[in-house]
């Protein structure tokens, strides 16, 4: 997701404030994809995904008056989405969890065969189980940085913490995840290839910022 400052967002927000429903629909169309992906990555496979995406945009409507133009809309939207997910997780933690088998495995579209696809889907599902064990703060910075490719500076704006704190959380998130992955049978058996796939696929800006 590209989160560069976008004048079009600002214009749409301005029109939304005048009650222009079409502008809001355009805003929704522009951002529903990135929001869905962020919610999914924060939450993992879940039957609540659709409800949460809707909640994010309902929250946007409720809070539009408090949005200040000097901030990037996309940064603010990310913050809203994170808050909605965290509130949801907190609420879910207080009630019995229902497992929806339909959403148990994520869809992986790039595996060469059905068998590989299944194995990859199992690994990804296992990864989300592990990711869910991280604290909210660490999971948020890990998802935003490693999966969404945002810089620590940008993440600090979203989560409201200094860059130093973001980097610290990232460090501990990686360390805890590495340890937990080794304890997860599906992931512990992950064949380690000579090429470093993540390094080769990570955005250049991301690699630079990580190091």
């Amino acid at each position: 997701m590209k989160l560069e400052p976008d004048a079009e967002d600002a214009e749409l927000v301005g029109r939304c404030r005048t009650g222009d429903a079409h502008a809001f629909e355009l805003l929704f169309q522009r951002h529903r994809g990135p929001v869905t992906r962020l919610v999914y990555r924060m939450l993992g496979p879940s039957s609540d995904l659709e409800d949460l995406v809707q909640d994010v945009f309902l929250q946007v409507i409720r809070s539009l008056e408090s949005f200040r133009d000097e901030a990037r809309f996309s940064t603010w939207l990310y913050r809203v989405a994170l808050n909605v997910v965290l509130m949801h997780r907190r609420a879910v933690g207080r009630r019995p969890r229902l497992v929806d088998e339909q959403h148990a495995l994520p869809a992986v579209d790039s595996a060469p065969s059905a068998e590989d696809a299944l194995e990859t889907a199992l690994r990804v599902a296992a990864f989300y189980r592990v990711l869910a064990r991280l604290s909210d703060k660490k999971r948020a910075v890990f998802v935003l940085h490693e999966l969404e490719g945002l810089s620590p500076a940008r993440i600090s704006e979203i989560v409201g913490a200094p860059v130093l704190t973001v980097r610290t959380r990232l460090f501990y998130a990686r360390r805890e995840l590495s340890r937990m992955l080794a304890e997860e049978p599906v992931l512990a058996a992950l064949e380690l290839e000579a090429t470093d796939i993540a390094s080769s696929e990570a955005p250049a800006a991301l690699r630079k910022e990580v190091e």
Partner: protein, 380 residues
């Protein structure tokens, strides 16, 4: 790259390739548009400035009614007497001021959804976020909970007076209150915020330190314990010496500071501080913290920092590493550490270690808490 790191990198790459499920756009669009239109009809989409301007026109038309309402608000505010001890993570639910206020309604803030609007009708309304903050609306006040993620509680005061007790944290901020363009960011403190005419916001700090500025802006005014100031959209207004807003009367000030064996002691009212209004509540004289106690506290904290520096600073062979940094330590009256600041900062690993090491440290009770600075010379 080690085996664990390669495993993590490999799975990250796979997760990145995984597409998020598609949400049914048509099914979402119509309810959202309906909600949007309803909000537009209620006039909830305008930015704060527009709302204020609209409100002022209304006020001019109904000045007598508003004058009467203002008198009622002021009377309600004057009756608030949040007197208590310093912030304490274990005492949020049994904060003395809250318990002693008859008829106080209380809510679990963690069970509220973002966007919830809370109003205190004829009695104070208290909202508690476990281990983070407790904030109280005076009668006739209204606030909106903007967000309450794990770290930061974000509230917008829409009307009246809000007082807050924020649990100490080493995070940069754990509680933010905004009102008509002015935002107060705090971490571990006690303060009050009162909305005045137009965009005027009065902030009074009882314990700790708060940063006040324009919402979303970069600059901020620092207010310490015992200080009070007026702001309009985040900009500090000229002071009126000797005046104290009735909205923030009745609170006890933290002691200006305590003598330190070494270094400068800060935390007292600085430029722009406003004296307490003796007609309302006589300020309680507070004794400075005993120097021996402050010295022991400094030694304990310094030792923890030194140990963390030694354990988490990489060094090759016998190379000696020496670093100087300034420690600013703020301690509450109950002995709990409010803040530890290191300037220049140390590495994230060392700072995280310090955070963990001092998390549950208690340094001895004093009458009003203290703040002290010292130069540290760390060796590895």
């Amino acid at each position: 790259m080690g085996r664990a790191a390669r495993r993590l990198a490999r799975i990250i790459a796979e997760v990145r390739r995984t597409e998020a499920p598609q949400v049914p756009v048509e099914r979402l669009t119509q309810p959202l548009l309906a909600a949007f239109r309803a909000a537009a009809e209620r006039g909830e989409l305008r930015p704060a400035a527009a709302s204020v301007a609209r409100g002022w026109r209304l006020r001019r038309a109904a000045l007598p009614v508003l004058a009467f309402g203002t008198v009622l608000v002021i009377l309600a505010v004057v009756l608030i007497r949040p007197v208590g001890r310093g912030p304490d993570t274990a005492l949020v639910a049994r904060e003395p001021a809250l318990e002693s206020t008859a008829g106080l309604a209380s809510l679990d803030g963690d069970a509220l959804v973002a966007g919830a609007v809370l109003s205190a009708a004829d009695r104070p309304l208290s909202v508690a976020h476990a281990r983070r903050a407790t904030w109280t609306l005076s009668p006739g006040s209204r606030a909106r909970l903007l967000s309450a993620p794990e770290g930061v509680v974000h509230v917008e005061l829409e009307h009246g007076v809000l007082s807050a007790l924020v649990t100490p944290s080493l995070e940069p901020e754990s509680f933010v209150v905004q009102a008509r363009g002015t935002a107060v960011s705090v971490h571990g403190t006690r303060f009050e915020m009162a909305l005045g005419e137009l965009d005027r916001v009065t902030v009074r700090v009882t314990e700790g330190v708060v940063h006040v500025g324009a919402f979303g802006g970069n600059g901020a005014t620092v207010l310490r314990a015992g200080m009070q100031a007026d702001f309009v959209r985040g900009v500090r207004q000229a002071e009126t010496p000797g005046t104290t807003s009735p909205a923030v009367a009745g609170v006890e000030a933290m002691a200006p500071g305590a003598p330190a064996p070494a270094g400068k002691v800060g935390g007292g009212p600085g430029r722009g501080s406003v004296p307490h209004d003796a007609r309302l509540v006589p300020p309680r004289a507070s004794r400075p913290a005993p120097p021996a106690l402050v010295e022991r506290a400094l030694e304990q904290v310094s030792a923890s920092i030194q140990a963390c520096f030694r354990d988490h600073t990489a060094a090759a062979g016998e190379i000696r590493i020496e670093v100087s940094t300034r420690l600013v330590l703020s301690v509450q009256s109950d002995g709990r550490i409010l803040t530890v600041a290191l300037d220049p900062p140390l590495s994230p690993l060392v700072e995280q270690c310090v955070t963990d090491a001092l998390d549950r440290v208690e340094l001895g009770r004093t009458e009003s808490g203290y703040r002290v600075e010292r130069e540290l010379h760390l060796l590895r």
